[in-house]
Symmetry: C2
Subunit: 119 residues, 2 copies
């Protein structure tokens, strides 16, 4: 893939709330498909489909653990997306300073996408 | 739109090389549809379709100049996308340091998407 095709795949993969929530979960630590499916109201096949999109975009990889096959985040594609946005810093920098509240709202929304934990 | 829906729209809009090239052109300064269509090997209707996607995502706006109706970049959505990526800095930070070469390659590709200028 060319850099431009990689950006296409990265941004397309990120344009979905479930896939972003999966990345948020993986940011806490590697997880198997079963572990990823658990907090979401989704079947394992549905989760697997999203994982395939993320893996094809290079945003996650599968570790060589024959039993669990845990998924992990790969940072390079996120770095490329960040590098693209960095070129537009003059446009977003001012707004960025005011985004603390927004970030909190985003995190709250992400948490609400998950089922309550069974603690 | 909720913050999550805005991110969906932003990332989907950015997942296209022509739309990214349009933003790269607008980063140089506001431009009318005709001015935007000129450097690309595309019809004005094709460009207009891409502009609609960018405008629906809030990435650009149309200035109130009845004649030219120039488009301009709006930074807030780019700031939100950057804020989302910022949450994953631990994963991309190291790669980011090595992206200078990649950025150059991306810019070269973008330039090649345009027809030679008629200077």
């Amino acid at each position: 893939m060319t850099p431009s095709q990689r950006l296409d795949a990265t941004f397309a993969a990120l344009a979905d709330p479930t896939r972003r929530a999966i990345l948020a979960r993986l940011a806490q630590g590697d997880a198997s498909v079963a572990e990823l499916a658990e907090p979401f109201a989704m079947s394992q096949p549905a989760i697997s489909k999203h994982l395939k999109v993320l893996e094809n975009a290079g945003l996650i990889s599968t570790a060589q653990d024959a039993q669990r096959r845990p998924r992990r985040i790969e940072g390079v594609r996120l770095a490329e997306a960040t590098a693209w946005l960095e070129e537009y810093r003059q446009f977003w920098d001012e707004s960025f300073q005011r985004l603390d509240a927004l970030l909190e709202e985003m995190k709250r929304e992400e948490r609400q996408r998950k089922r309550p934990s069974r603690s």
